[in-house]
């Protein structure tokens, strides 16, 4: 292809709405263009990149024995009611009212794949089945961010497995898991599988595939000592040594009018001369469990609550009878269950609300002045927390989720009467499922962030992802001089050798051409110059390892093909 044919005009100015370098690069290079907030078009250069990503995913999933299919985006609301996800995912579902009924635009396809596959699954002989699709999803994201990172319309590679029992499910899970590692390696991404939270998808075991990246919206905790890794929502800190409570202090009440909440309480107490800091304040948060019963969660004032599964924060109505902003654990009615993070055992006494508006208590002691029904991990882990496996220090890594795999088990098939098969003994049983997803349209952004320059005006794409493996530019090319003739010849023969190649043929300066080609980001450049040609050579630049070599004219194609092969083998 030629730059004049490619719909390509790079942007001279920094796009205003681009926060991240990868986003700037993708806009400047005309890979993508914003249609509206969180909705992007893939222009021809970006579409080539995207198709390369898709091809790698297809090849590895086919190799894993999964069959590709295509499920609809437009899904009848009834199948979402049957699984209850019409409510569970209500915050991101786009609804569509049509002449013939109500639809949901699929943000994920567990319901739809069960409808599509169930008639083909009659007996144990029909299992296992592994399928996947590359398909467009829709999510009504409240905040669209970082260009392709969080969008309202995106392509996902979503896979599903169907098995007779837990062991078989685990074996199918392992096939996708291994394929994912192979895919991310070929994409040039070092993806770490970390333990994660199942969220609205469900199931017991699941892994997020995280890539450390400055455009990450997630964090994962990792332990350099033992290798423990978990998503911040799933990570737990290890236990710490409990301290003895201070039997010598006595709780003392202070008048703190208009000081609800931790921050204002500290200010009010300090103004009264009380020596208290945020880590010594007890945070008491009222939750509601699945049976609509009140639960009080206790944690240190400087930590963030990780709301336990099946619970939610109480709303104002549910807070009736509690002194909002002044709640403490002491003297609670037995109908309120008290949960505490193990960190609550690590101080001799605590400051807390008094359960009366306008006053706080200092010197509350666990087991003396208040009691706890159950200890469990309630806080979001932080840098320096102890590892739950080895006790060494955890650190948090900013990262992007590029894939997620779930052992769903019977989560869906237990509630859907047609998600069944006949076992060897003729029994009708629910099948065991797994589901697997890669955020396809997110990959170009993550790869660009890793392989692009910090200012977003150049990139060297990994070989298999590059829209064009080779770029050819002539220095001093005119309409019919030797530089142009040689460039054309190389263009034809490199293309014939099976490598994707783009040639600069616009009437622009070498400076403009090079700047644009650095946005296109081929790993190999061929620079054809009059001066080199006089010596019978062409300059070949291998940009991944930054090597420049002069190659005799007749050896250029061979050299380029060999470099391509070398770069390809590095990734496998």
């Amino acid at each position: 292809m030629r730059t004049s044919e490619l719909v390509f005009k790079s942007l001279r100015e920094t796009p205003q709405d681009a926060e991240a370098a990868s986003h700037k690069l993708l806009l400047r290079g005309n890979y993508i263009r914003r249609l509206t907030s969180g909705v992007y078009s893939f222009l021809p250069l970006g579409y080539r990149l995207l198709r390369n990503v898709e091809r790698i995913i297809e090849e590895e999933l086919d190799r894993a024995g999964a069959a590709e299919l295509l499920l609809p985006a437009l899904q009848p609301v009834e199948i979402w009611r049957a699984t209850g996800r019409i409510d569970k995912m209500a915050d991101v579902l786009f609804g569509v009212e049509g002449k013939s009924g109500s639809f949901v635009l699929g943000p994920t396809h567990e319901e739809a794949v069960i409808e599509a596959m169930s008639p083909d699954i009659e007996s144990y002989r029909d299992l296992p089945k592994l399928v996947y699709q590359l398909q467009t999803k829709f999510r009504d994201e409240p905040r669209a961010r970082f260009g392709l990172m969080r969008t309202r319309e995106f392509i996902m590679a979503d896979g599903y497995s169907f098995d007779v029992d837990r062991d078989a499910m685990r074996s199918s899970y392992q096939k996708f898991y291994d394929a994912y590692l192979a895919i991310f390696a070929r994409l040039g991404l070092q993806a770490e599988p970390v333990e994660a939270d199942a969220g609205s998808i469900g199931g017991d075991v699941n892994h997020e595939f995280m890539v450390a990246s400055t455009i990450g919206e997630d964090h994962f905790a990792c332990c350099a000592s033992c290798g423990y890794q978990a998503n911040i929502e799933a990570a737990r800190a290890g236990d710490r040594e409990p301290v003895k409570v201070d039997l010598e202090v006595e709780p003392k009440t202070y008048s703190t009018p208009n000081a609800p909440g931790i921050e204002s309480a500290i200010a009010a107490l300090q103004a009264l001369g009380v020596d208290v800091e945020i880590g010594g304040m007890l945070k008491s948060m009222l939750l509601i469990d699945e049976a609509d019963r009140p639960v009080l969660a206790l944690l240190p004032g400087d930590r963030t609550l990780n709301v336990p599964h099946g619970m939610r924060l109480a709303d104002d109505t549910q807070m009736a009878g509690f002194a909002k902003g002044y709640i403490g654990p002491q003297g609670q009615s037995p109908r309120v269950q008290v949960l505490a993070d193990p960190l609550v055992r690590t101080r001799p006494s605590w400051a807390s609300g008094s359960n009366e508006h306008g006053s706080h208590v200092v010197g509350l002691r666990l087991g003396v002045d208040f009691s706890v029904d159950r200890f469990e991990n309630l806080v979001v882990v932080e840098d320096g927390d102890p590892c739950p496996r080895c006790g060494a220090s955890l650190s948090l890594v900013r990262s992007v989720e590029v894939g997620h795999t779930f052992q769903l088990g019977l989560t869906y098939s237990a509630v859907l009467p047609h998600a069944r098969f006949h076992s060897v003994s003729g029994e009708e049983l629910p099948y065991w499922m797994g589901c697997y997803g890669i955020g396809v349209t997110r990959v170009p952004a993550v790869v660009a962030q890793q392989y692009g320059s910090p200012d977003g005006d150049a990139v060297v794409w990994p070989l298999e992802v590059a829209p064009f493996v080779v770029s050819i530019v002539g220095v001093g090319a005119t309409k019919d001089n030797e530089v142009t003739a040689i460039s054309e010849r190389l263009h034809a023969s490199i293309s014939e050798a099976g490598l994707s190649v783009i040639m600069e043929d616009r009437n622009v300066s070498v400076g403009v051409a090079m700047r644009d080609l650095e946005l296109i980001g081929s790993p190999i450049f061929c620079i054809v110059g009059a001066r080199s040609l006089a010596k019978g050579v062409v300059e070949v630049r291998e940009r991944i390892h930054d090597r420049t070599i002069e190659v005799a004219l007749e050896g250029v194609v061979e050299t380029v093909v060999a470099l391509g092969r070398e770069l390809a083998s590095e990734r496998r």
Copy 2:
């Protein structure tokens, strides 16, 4: 691939909701599965078929110099307001209300492609540009029909061209037009480009690519004598010789109470002994033009009105002052414009409503008792009408629209201020557009209808479309006999030779295997039988021309490859 790996279980019974043979075949063969009315999943076998169709389209459009891109389905309602199509296409648009605004699910992408491309089109040097995409469209169809033929979610290959002037637009149009002919030929379809109506897309010149098919919802008119072809909405009959009016008759009024409309008027008149037939009744239909003025359209009672562009049928309010069911052309006020089809000149006199409730007039003469402001073609053409070019007899062919190409001209760019470029002389001008579409998901149904059996239980797919070019079946195969070993060896070596191949490996009878393989529809079968093997041969069946040959074992791969090449060359 093996039949056990392919998610494949053919249906033993005729699917209830399948009307057409193609639809039965696609359901029985597990190509597709209905999720809800007008919404289908493509199962793995159907997805392979679909990808083959897409690959052919991509190859031919790439060859034509068009660049592939991908535009979003989710489109802000504002861009649809700017072109006015939010109203023009209101009957099929799916609207989506999101947190961040109102969207339309694109049923076509003129608005979106202009948003995507305009920043890249600054000057005449940036033109022409040809782009296309394979993308999912949504239409709120009131009636979904014939499986894949008319669906609410479907894939379209939609292309767009951008040019400096009309001539350049025509040249881009020709590139797509030629590519379309090449695509349909490779798909095994004889597509006829016919003149058509522009509908809600717009523009002057356009062609529909029609394939004669029993599942067609359209008809096109064609002239065997001169080759004239036009869609039924665009076709016009040629002129007929006008007859002289009968000056000897006089109009006579008959009392016809409770007989509004043509059918009841004839019955009432015949009951009175008047000799009148439907072709001699004048149909007078009240229309409203773009300036909201009344227009009376006259045509013979046995013909169907083709409502002229920009006009609509009057509603009851607009009929006030007219004797509904008894309207005639005589004595109309000058503010009512009278249009007549040329057929109105072909009878010496007409029967008509009297403009009074409850009576009709017989013997009304054109130019004597009523006058016409303008003659123009107003009737839908019928079998036997004269060809507008040569006067020979037209015939109507039931057909499916598989593609549509439009010379849009300035339809869109004239109303969108950013759809401009700077000309050679520096003037800012609107660019000239074309748009082009192929109904991708409809193609499998059309091809299946043409190449499948009338009862929908067997098919021979054209070579390039076939999900598997070769099917291998062993007769008397057991787990470890020679039949199985040879089948496996052929499977490996045919696959290595670059042909897609599926092998029957399920534990089923030869009868079941053959029945299922006929649903998979490979053009080439290899039948490995113990008896043939004893003679050292394998039976190779070429199903397109129905040839069966016995081939020596060591020559099977070569023969199959040669047959594949021969079948491929027939289509180009």
